[in-house]
Amino acid sequence: MYYIPFIIIFTILIIFVAKAKPLTKSSHKIYFTHTDLKENFKIASDTIKPFFARKQIDEKLKILAMTPPPKKIIYSAMCYSMYLPPDRIKYICPFCGEKTIYKGGKTDSDWQNLYEILEHGIYTCKRQLNKVEGIHIAIDESQFCKKCSPFIEKPELCLLVNIEGQQDTTKICNITVKDILLITEFLNNKISLVTGEGEEPLLDYIDRIQELLGLKINNEKND
């Protein structure tokens, strides 16, 4: 009978050890058998020590370089926009919040213009127009949303301008980013437009500026 307490203590110890969770191993459901593991992990060594000598590292990298790089996986959840192939682009409407997907051909010039507008044209226009003060000027992008404009076949970006003293708001469509640059530079009292292609005098575009702003500008010389 004297051994009964020892049996009880031993039993409790066994139960305790069986229930104890290891500190570093997870407690996930077991999906594979011991045989599966043995079959798939026939790797001689379980340990790998890091290399610190630069020469040794470079030799290893050289060997690695002889193998082809793995197929690229586009990891969408990175914080920055990945460059998408230019035959498909999405547009999110700021009014209804819905998304429209566009597709075109890489060699199609209409598609290239559309892609340009959607990829960065719209928000570039908005950012440019933020530099303009003292005039009501905005873009109308509603044609790009399939939900807001379901029957538009060829969407265009439009400009809405209302200058103080004018009764009506001027609306002109099929505008480009360059058009926006022209009027913002003009309204900021610049005399030339500087782009990646060089510097051009705004005077060369006076008719277009006039058309965009819906007003006639007197550019005749006084004798």
């Binding site: 570093t24 997870s26 407690s27 996930h28 459901k29 999906y31 594979f32 599966d36 798939n40 790797i43 340990t47 790998i48 890091p50 290399f51 610190f52 630069r54 590292i57 290893k60 990298l61 050289k62 690695l64 370089a65 193998t67 790089p69 793995p70 690229k72 996986i73 990891y75 969408s76 959840a77 990175m78 914080c79 920055y80 926009s81 990945m82 035959d87 999405k90 999110i92 700021p94 919040g97 819905e98 998304k99 429209t100 997907i101 566009y102 597709k103 075109g104 209409d110 598609w111 960065h120 928000y123 570039t124 908005k126 950012r127 933020n130 399939k146 939900k147 076949e153 060829k154 500087v194």
Partner: protein, 355 residues
């Protein structure tokens, strides 16, 4: 005759990729951790973690709305004891997807597990192989690993990279670069690729979470960021491998340099290409953001949320960038990091404030 533009309404307004933060818990105490709930005196409201069935309901909802890429993170996702069950559940779903011909087809979701690797075991690797899950493992240094993480062992990470390679699992080594581990970045990246990593995801330390307590120790200045990119590109070029930087950088910082083997982005894609759902089920624009929007059960309301719309419309350009000629291709650096650091979404990227 007007030519018809090929277009179709998407299944929903949601980005096609989601990052699911499976738990607040973690077996590391990383100095650089940007999880917003770890920020002392932060605004993040830690609610009750979702249960397994709730995660499945959430994933069903996202799949029905066209989300097709699922990344599991945390905290440490393997601390969620139901993670494998949830991954398996997702693997068996079919997502409606708009293909390149603008036809609606059904595909299997793409899944990614982002982990510190310390809780991996062979059976989990086999599971990942079976379900074609991409594995991303964190390696914030080798000599400085333990100093950064307070727990764990870099050799364990290298071993899992080796074993994953043997099984044919696609692996990404995820390296957060700080002032403390920059000196060994060459060795860290090299060892990860020698062990078997397929690609590199390089993250510069950004203020947020627990990292707010260690800003002086960890923050990289402009020169250090350029050095980080140069080192990474050098190693990748030598190894004939490729990688990318995980957060956008201001273009004025990098435009004089070219990187042949590492992709550096300059535009924010939060809310556009991806979004985040926290452990309690609330939606955020990105994992750096402490701003919690609607709960997933009210997901439709997010599209009219004022804060969400700022990201959709890219209405967050810093005041100092307003007159820059590159605003067509640059958002002035990481917006949420700027928000956390300066309390304003229109603030400068922290790199401009660290010199």
């Amino acid at each position: 005759m007007k030519k018809m533009t090929n277009s179709i309404s998407a299944l929903s307004f949601l980005p096609s990729s989601v990052v699911l933060e499976m738990t607040y818990e973690c077996n590391h105490q990383c100095l650089f951790c940007s999880c917003p709930w770890e920020q002392p005196h932060g605004i993040y409201n830690k609610g009750v973690e979702l249960k397994c069935d709730e995660w499945k309901t959430l994933i069903d909802k996202l799949v029905s709305m066209g989300v097709c890429d699922f990344s599991y993170t945390g905290g440490e996702p393997l601390m969620n004891k139901n993670i494998l069950d949830i991954i398996e559940y997702t693997s068996n779903l079919k997502v409606k997807f708009i293909n390149d011909n603008l036809e609606q087809i059904e595909i299997s979701p793409n899944q990614y597990l982002i982990t510190n690797g310390q809780l991996l075991d062979e059976s989990i690797l086999l599971f990942l192989k079976k379900h074609e899950i991409n594995l991303s493992i964190s390696l914030p240094g080798i000599l400085t690993y333990r100093h950064h993480t307070k727990n764990g062992n870099p050799e364990i990470v290298l071993n899992w990279l080796k074993k994953a390679k043997a099984l044919g699992i696609h692996t990404t080594v995820n390296i957060t670069v700080t002032k403390l581990n920059l000196f060994e970045l060459y060795e860290t990246i090299s060892n990860a690729f020698i062990a078997g990593a397929n690609t590199l995801l390089l993250n510069r330390f950004l203020p947020g979470g627990r990292g707010m307590l260690h800003l002086d120790k960890l923050s990289l200045d402009k020169k250090e960021i350029l050095l980080m990119l140069q080192i990474a590109n050098d190693v990748l070029k030598k190894a004939n491998r490729f990688g990318s930087v995980g957060t956008e950088l201001p273009i004025c910082l990098i435009k004089e340099n070219e990187y042949s083997n590492i992709t550096v982005g300059t535009r924010c894609s939060a809310g556009i290409d991806f979004f985040v759902i926290g452990p309690e089920g609330r939606i955020r624009t990105c994992n750096h953001s402490p701003v919690q929007l609607e709960h997933f059960t009210q997901i439709e309301k997010v599209k009219q949320n004022v804060y969400w719309k700022k990201f959709i419309e890219k209405d967050y350009l810093p005041e100092n960038c307003k007159y820059c000629n590159y605003t067509y291709c640059c958002d002035g650096g990481c917006r949420e990091a700027a928000h956390v650091y300066t309390n304003s979404l229109y603030g400068d990227d922290p790199v401009f404030l660290n010199n």
